[in-house]
Amino acid sequence: MPRRVTEVDPHLDIETYDPSADLMVLNLGPQHPSTHGVFRVKLYLDGEIIVKAVPYAGYLHRGVEKLCEELTFVQIIPVVDKNDYVSPMMNEQAIVMACEAMLEIEVPRRALYLRTIFAELQRVASHLLWLGTFGMDLGGALGGGASLFMYCFRERETILGLFEEVTGCRFHYNTHAVGGNRHDITPKFCRDTKTTIEVIAKRIEEYIQIFSSNRIYRDRTQGVGVLDGDLAVSLGITGPLARASGVDHDLRRDAPYHIYGELDVNVFTESAGDCLARTLVRLQEMCESIRIVREIIDSVPEGPILGIKPGKSPTHIKIESSQRYTCIESPRGELGTYLIGGGSNRGASAYRLKIRSPSLHAVSCIPYVFPGHTVSDAIAILGTLDPIMGEVDR
């Protein structure tokens, strides 16, 4: 069985550990079918057991934070939108909430409802994509995993169709604005949402049948990649990864923002902390998000969707030099924005904007979790960490 995680030393010195140097160095290279983007882990292999794993990030570093100091607040929303390219709505919501918190703009209730519906639908779509690619990681591109991938994408396309109906774009929407939303929902959106979430709720049972209740799948994930609860928390890991290790923490319930205070969000935790627990937590979270959407889709209040007058010039949003950290619960954990106002363009762009990406914390647990497992386990664990390289490297 893989060794317990606590006594693994992440900065193991290879020369002292193995003077005869018969370890094989395998680069789970930046270009590899299942590293979920451009990411490299240098594995020191003893046979097929990993002795040490050294991850290298930075291959997709586009300097978004430097760009945010150049562009104004109105312009960075579509740019920041592309950080976590699996759940773009969350990035927009995070940055827009930071600006509203600094300017104390009162967002109309209809916009809050829209944001919550979009966020929960985006969470389901993000978890569906994770489930599909995780199936491919375990089952290979020409096998059972690929069937699960196609089913998950079939469901995900229906959700993207809903977003397309409202915002006109399937993926990077730019539908949030400082003070509210830019696109309003249509009656067709409400009808389609209700039918879509019923279909997806039914299909999740099918995924459980083909995947998580399957003995081969359970063998591949039970007891694999065990992450200690307090190690996860000290690494700053939040979201489904921490909840699978028994950390009962969810920002939607503990520090509610928007209208999450009025909704009762129940949080699912597993204690095992292995790949199987993470799968179960994400599946339950999908059902939970569907329940929330079903609950609030019928009671969207009427009224405006933007709190302030939409400006024509890029510099109509100005923030004076103060600092604020706001965060939301994205499908991967606590997605935060630390904004320091009073930057160039006479205060219309940020002095410094740090995006706290949950995937970077998730990926930082690799040196602690990989040792003791085989290469195929490493792929399974990397799959369950659900890292998005755009968000890790920004």
Partner: protein, 325 residues
């Protein structure tokens, strides 16, 4: 017609038929797998994508046969043809009808298993010779899996031999024709032996859920990482051929070969083979892959002892029947 000429003629006929069936099974698998995944599969090239296979073959042929610089040139070139030759060699003894077989050896099953066992080497040599870390990992896994699953395969193939008191495949089939098929007749040993034989032939042919040698998601492309062009085509062809021949063998020794309820003949044998072949596809597109150590545990802990018990049971069964006869 001297047996040599008979063998040569039928050998060529069976080999070409098997290769064409294997080729068209690729098309069928892609269309059927597409349907399983709610999509269309190849439709553009030819009517309903039938010419997709020809297009793939042509593409493979005109691709450059890359020989990596540090690879072992002789072994690297030798592996793919050997893979196809060894798998096709096993087809020599499979009787498709009374006299429709290449070589009616009286040690048919022994020859079959011996040549079948050789298939592990080309896969291992391919991985070793391409001097690539991922291919090396794939090769070591292929050897471990091949050897592990050889033993239960042989033992479960012994059950029909013991029941039919002969190693000649046509005798086994004729015994099944008189009595019941070995899958149903002695309920315990027959059925379980078939299941073990089926699982082990899946493992030998490196098919899901046992395809760890060329695990695309882990080892990039496993053993076939450094191969391109027609060499890669041959390695893939060998895999499909191996599954086709394994299902033909299983149909022969467990499902009564050409014996069928009404007019027994060639069509029954072909039908049974294709049904088993279809089952392999179906399993391939619904299951996830084992990890290598679980795979070994499954073989050594469960399949091996079970198949030993089955051989003893069938021997006991034959003894009891001989006693009261």
């Amino acid at each position: 017609m001297t047996p040599l000429v008979h063998g040569a003629v039928w050998g060529v006929v069976i080999a070409t038929v098997l290769v064409t069936v294997a080729v068209f099974s690729i098309w069928f698998e892609r269309k059927f797998a597409a349907r399983m995944q709610t999509r269309y599969g190849p439709t553009l090239v030819g009517p309903a994508g039938l010419l997709q296979i020809v297009a793939d073959a042509l593409k493979m042929m005109q691709k450059e046969d890359i020989l990596p610089q540090k690879a072992d040139p002789m072994l690297f070139r030798l592996a793919p043809p050997c893979a196809v030759i060894f798998t096709l060699a096993a087809a020599a003894v499979i009787p498709f009808d009374e006299d429709v077989l290449a070589a009616d050896l009286d040690i048919g099953v022994l020859f079959l298993l011996a040549v079948g066992g050789l298939v592990v080497f080309p896969v291992w040599v391919a991985g070793w010779a391409s001097n690539n870390k991922y291919a090396l990992l794939g090769a070591m896994r292929a050897v471990a899996q091949g050897i592990a699953y050889e033993i239960p395969l042989v033992l479960s193939a012994m059950v029909p031999v013991v029941l039919a008191q002969s190693m000649r495949l046509s005798d086994i089939i004729s015994v099944q024709a008189e009595t019941h098929w070995f899958v149903f007749w002695p309920l315990g040993p027959g059925l379980i032996a078939f299941v073990i034989f089926f699982i082990c032939s899946l493992a030998e042919a490196n098919r899901i859920p046992f395809d760890i040698p060329e695990a695309e998601s882990e080892l990039v492309a496993g053993v076939t990482t450094e191969y391109a062009g027609m060499r890669f085509g041959l390695l893939q062809m060998a895999e499909y051929l191996h599954t086709l021949i394994a299902s033909a063998v299983a149909a022969a020794i467990f499902f009564g070969g050409w014996d069928g309820p009404f007019a027994s003949g060639l069509h029954w044998m072909v039908l049974k083979t294709l049904v088993l072949f279809f089952m392999i596809f179906w399993i391939r597109w619904s299951l996830v892959r084992f990890r290598s150590d679980q795979l070994m545990a499954l073989c050594w802990k469960y399949l091996l002892p079970l198949s030993l018990v089955l051989v003893m049971l069938s021997a006991l069964f034959v003894y009891v029947r001989a006693m009261d006869a």
